[in-house]
Symmetry: C2
Subunit: 339 residues, 2 copies
Amino acid sequence: MSILTLPQPYLLFLGDSVDERDAKTAMGLRDWAGDRCVGEFALATATITTGLPRLTPAAARARGAQSLVIGVAPAGGIVQPNWVPALLEALRAGLDLVSGMHTRLEDVPVLRSAALELGRRLIDVRKPRQTFPVGTGRRRSGRRLLTVGTDCALGKKYTALALARAFNERDVPATFRATGQTGIMISGSGVAIDSVVADFIAGAAEELTPDAAADHWDVVEGQGSLFHPAYSGVSLGLLHGTQPDVIVMCHEAGRESVHGLPDFELPSLKEAIEVTLTLARRTNPGVRCGGVSLNTVTLSEEAANALLERHSAELGMPCADPIRGGPRFDELVSACLGA
Amino acid sequence: MSILTLPQPYLLFLGDSVDERDAKTAMGLRDWAGDRCVGEFALATATITTGLPRLTPAAARARGAQSLVIGVAPAGGIVQPNWVPALLEALRAGLDLVSGMHTRLEDVPVLRSAALELGRRLIDVRKPRQTFPVGTGRRRSGRRLLTVGTDCALGKKYTALALARAFNERDVPATFRATGQTGIMISGSGVAIDSVVADFIAGAAEELTPDAAADHWDVVEGQGSLFHPAYSGVSLGLLHGTQPDVIVMCHEAGRESVHGLPDFELPSLKEAIEVTLTLARRTNPGVRCGGVSLNTVTLSEEAANALLERHSAELGMPCADPIRGGPRFDELVSACLGA
């Protein structure tokens, strides 16, 4: 089995952080995997909190924690030297370490030797060593939804999490399937699809979304964009391997060009949906677009509603901001389910 | 620099082969890189020949050879134990070893220790250790042509080699750019694009086709197909990273479904060209299709000509079989050059 699986529940490590913006991972885990987080652990100098109980590694272990997740990412993404005693304390208490930082835990000699001695695992989610078979294109049982986007970094993960939660709230069996490091930490398993060798992208996506009960939905976190000059290969391999029944197109209000590449104008939502469906039909002729997920964080409520209404009317499909929720989002959920 | 570069000229190793079909690599190198092959070397029991001079490694070294290329692939793709003395002789004569076999040369202990001791290189083309930056989408100087296909294994490499050669014969400066192991051996450098980590496919393609003189053509060997359920990610990353001015669509007469996946019907040539151009415009709005390269190996000359004529008329563009050459191929070359 080559899907990465993380030991849960977690103890969230906040290091010595004094800036909540460094703690996106910890906050995301609290919000989306709160039922699998027993508490938080931080150095005495830290000033931030997730609101979860503050526990020592030993106390967390006693409450069932299996691993300590590094939930903060200071500039540079480096494991800070003054964290090391706390990380060693976690290893000694019986916890594995999970990290999505640029520095590999394995590359910190004192952690590597302690883990070896204690029989603990050091799990680097950013650069997992995973191998996959070549894709087969075989149709699998169960239903699949993939969030796709006009660009990177505009809400594909959030949309997939929100849809999976909403499906479950309607008693529709659904599993969020993670394809990036934060998603994997939230879900507890997944594939860092952008770190897979090119030949195996679709094969990895197939393994991530295996045969399932006929009424079960895999709600898959999209990566990159078919329209991104650097990452389109990842996106197409994921699209073909996932063979979604439904796609949801994600976009950010006001974004007109590829993030960081102002020369690359984004396609219109209509064009993006059409191109995506054309390609997606290759492995699932029945694919349809459930609607649009629009990130309207920069807009007032009034402006957001007007824009959502306009897009919805123009495209003839639901358009919602999952962060705002409400009836528009309910409509999107219904459309995805075909209800 | 992360483009793989091989030491040329070569001495071609034929092992103990008695079946010419096992020697595709050697024959391909003779045909396409004959000016960079000083000769062949084989065990006494071998019965096949490339027609090049039969030389000992020492004699080949004296004629300038820099490496011994394993030019045969017996079933299983394993370095045969009875080859080892000959391979050691080559190392001792001052040649590096180049292999595209499944077995890594590095994994044969006696070769590894001899290479280390003698300061020779063991180069595994199939699984090179190459790292690349993320793509930028920046437009580069010079012109680029990419061969694309309705499927895998139908002539994209051959077409690119034939076009690059034809460009040169017309005194148009052109470089064949290799993206697979056989192509890399022929060219002496390149990127095994399907072994690149997913995030860096386009970036690798960008490095492979750098800024060049305004009238220079990079003629890039395509890989996979946008329509292949397993390999489409590789193909799209290569398309976006190459940012071709011209694509040539490759197809095999009579092939109706994906090789090995009979449930996957191939698109029509018209549809394949349209989808490819739509996606290619993302990084080169001026991209056009130069024509179709049709593999007609299974047809009589009369049937081939009729089919080429029909496709050409239906699509309104040149359609040729580069193996047959002739005026149709000249027409394709002219169309690619915009002449």
